[in-house]
Point group: C2
Chain length 137, copies 2
DNA sequence: AACCCTAATTGTAATCATTCTTATTTTGTA
DNA sequence: TACAAAATAAGAATGATTACAATTAGGGTT
């Protein structure tokens, strides 16, 4: 996970201004552990930044994703989730409680040579099932 | 990949009728290699089954997915793709031409014990980047 | 074969996340 | 302070998917 300073520098390098709104979105995402949606970011920040619009959040997240500074998770079929951690890792979604868990995964050890001539920019691993908490109920 | 007969039996076992429309959707999906969307299935079948509605296709695919007889791919951000192959394998989407490639992957060799107490029902692996064909242009 | 009951199909309307548009505001710079 | 470029905000538009209600088809029984 990058620090806010590092993120800020990355943005500057790409001629993207670190505005007040963008800083708040970045801050919130960096501090959150639960892969928030746009809706959740919006609800969390609108007290602090009453003028904030969802368009700005979408906009900010789009830039960050294009620069690979955040990950967009499509594990949930009807809403995108966002993750400030950019190291390759897996995501497990519990079908019962909908919670998304992180887990480590070593992609290099299971790759085939089939993709030798492909340029790979992003690796996403999604598991679905039931989490221990829900299993024990 | 299962045969149509096997699929038909699986449906019967779960009290889901193999109607004319469902048979056609199954047939089309089983024979197609390119992970079609609902739109593509609809366009391909409406000549043969003029009364076919998209709702029926959505409906059929939902049942098949619930029974794990097909895979739903969320690799494309705005439209779901469907795959008749149910063995765990990876999908690579080219960001340039949007083509989706299959590739083999050995998930067991890269799993951690972190998920030992989780019930895992589905494993999805999505890679994104540029395919050789587009790279060579 | 006719009947019945249930499930499936169809077409349309509703939903809802995301994107587009445009006017206004803010930012960085001179 | 003033200017030009970029960002923001609000609402409208888009488009895939789902919900709904009326009609139709299927399977079992006599």
């Amino acid at each position: 996970m990058k620090t806010l300073n590092e993120l800020s520098n990355e943005l500057k390098k790409n001629n993207i201004r670190l505005t007040h709104q963008r800083l708040k979105v970045l801050e919130y995402l960096s501090n959150s552990k639960n892969h928030p949606t746009v809706e959740q970011i919006y609800n969390a920040l609108k007290k602090e930044v009453p003028s904030l619009s969802k368009t700005t959040i979408y906009n900010t997240l789009k830039y960050l994703a294009e620069l690979s500074l955040i990950q967009v998770l499509a594990i949930d079929e009807n809403e995108a989730h966002f993750d400030a951690a950019t190291e390759t890792h897996g995501h497990f979604k519990c079908s019962t409680c909908d919670k998304i868990y992180d887990f480590d995964i070593d992609m290099d050890s299971c790759e085939t040579e089939e993709l030798d001539n492909f340029e790979i920019n992003e690796k996403l691993v999604y598991f679905k099932g039931i989490c221990p908490r829900c299993l024990s109920k």
